[in-house]
């Protein structure tokens, strides 16, 4: 087991989250089962008071969990200095069989927690509290994801063995990799670029046509396509190295932490895009935020190949 300052911080926070989330879970079940907004009984008035407390607990857990994802990546990056063979967070993720699942679950949870926060925000703006029952019902379900994340995180840190040699990102993200990642490299760069920019243009088309479900669906595709494009194509221009495809190394100081900007823009843009369908709304703010962040993301990642070509006169 590895226990440096960052991991210890994560453990302590997880214990606190688990304690408060368990209280919220118990109260959420109670609220979900007994809520009747038209009732004027003592039970209902008590539930209305408890719903404020419970929602506040959940809101702060989720609002803290979102930035903590970046701290988690930062922790993995730091751990890579302690694990033989690991050059960045990728090596740490690959050091145990749980790392990849935890990483995927964490990304999924970011979106789920974000959706809950948006739903809660809508509920507080409605004087009839029409989303209250839904949001607590949703939390009962989300609690299981939160629990799974905390358990998996603890298992992963517990399973890390610093005496064991792990693969570096150069091996993990290559065509010789034994994982699913190797399939990414069977696609040509031209195909990847066409799909990436094509998907991006479709987002604008669906915005103009006000097709909210298609807009959401193609935001989901855009998230997946973007991650593949980053690994297969754009990453190589950030590193200026045709063989280096790691999606973690550009989170490091050597690359001016540009990875944080890349992922924040991508996650914020696609999150807002997914909200359009999730809330079944034609609210321009969600459309515009999605397009703004996605466009900034595209401009940022496109800058690297263009700059490389202008500097060197060739493509990688």
């Amino acid at each position: 087991m590895i226990l440096n300052t960052e991991v210890l911080t994560i453990f302590i926070l997880n214990i606190l989250f688990l304690f408060f989330a368990s209280i919220a879970f118990y109260l959420s079940i109670k609220i979900y089962l007994k809520w009747d907004i038209n009732s004027t009984t003592t039970t209902q008035y008590t539930l209305e008071k408890q719903s404020v407390l419970t929602a506040t607990i959940i809101k702060y857990i989720f609002a803290l969990k979102l930035p903590l994802f970046l701290f988690f990546i930062f922790t993995l990056d730091n751990l890579s200095n302690l694990i033989t063979g690991a050059m960045c967070a990728a090596g740490v993720v690959d050091a145990t069989p749980y790392g990849t699942y935890l990483f995927i679950l964490k990304i999924l949870n970011i979106y789920i927690f974000g959706f809950w926060l948006v739903l809660h925000n809508l509920d507080t703006k409605d004087e009839t509290l029409k989303y209250t029952k839904i949001k607590f019902g949703l939390f009962i379900f989300i609690f299981l994801f939160l629990l799974a994340e905390i358990i998996l995180e603890s298992i992963m840190f517990n399973a890390i063995d610093i005496s064991k040699m792990v693969s570096c990102c150069g091996v993990i993200y290559s065509s010789t990799s034994t994982s699913l990642i190797s399939y990414i490299f069977t696609l040509s760069n031209t195909t990847i670029i066409l799909i990436f920019y094509g998907n991006f243009i479709l987002l604008y088309i669906f915005y103009i046509l006000k097709k909210q479900y298609l807009f959401s669906l193609f935001n989901l595709f855009f998230l997946i396509v973007s991650i593949i494009s980053l690994i297969a194509f754009f990453g190589t221009y950030i590193y200026e190295l045709p063989t280096h495809h790691c999606p973690f190394c550009y989170l490091q100081r050597d690359y001016y932490y540009v990875g944080y900007f890349i992922y924040i823009l991508l996650f914020t843009g696609t999150f807002n895009g997914l909200l359009v369908g999730f809330l079944n709304t034609n609210n321009k703010n969600y459309f515009k935020s999605s397009l703004l962040f996605n466009t900034l993301f595209v401009l940022l990642v496109s800058f690297y190949p263009i700059f490389y070509y202008m500097k060197n006169g060739v493509w990688l």
Partner: protein, 222 residues
Amino acid sequence: MIKLQNVNKIYTINKNNTITALKNINLEIKQGELIILKGASGSGKSTILSLLAALSKPTTGEVIVDNKKLSKLPDNFAALYRRENIGFIFQKYNLITNLSVKENILLPLIPQNLEDKILEDKLNLVINRFNISHKKDILVRNLSGGEQQRVAIARAMVNDPKIIIADEPTANLDEKLSSDFCNVLKELKKLNKTIIVATHDPIFFNLDFVDKIIDINNGSLS
């Protein structure tokens, strides 16, 4: 129109210690009425006022104002309701003594972010109505009790509320100032304001412009 339907209010001190402040209250107050809630200390008068002002919720039952279920409002909407509909006059005025008359009166308007011109107009309207325009820049701590009372009334009126709630408004006033306050109530009634006064001061019981005097005894209407 204000309605209280089957309202009970129980304050829980701890598991074994509860206080029943209101027992099955049913009450209707029409727009523009002046109502006196009469009763001894601890009878439940102030609890009714706090329910009408959406400062607290009943334990059971319902409070409805203009078809809005006040007792079901979330806190942020209850605050909005108070800001737009209620003017409070407190027994001890609850003025901020380190601020001037003008600053005290404009306090309820701060959340509305109004333009200076509109604020000035609203201020002038109330300070002229309650005859305190010459004191507007003076600190409240330098005013007499009667003047402080008028500032408190001006503050309650500055957002032009539909309902005015006064809790023992004459408890700290002498007979002359209490009589002046009654005249102010008459003026407010002419403006079609709904006024609810909780008091045990006999001066209110013989006023000819009072619509209803409601007796409260141990949390019940008698």
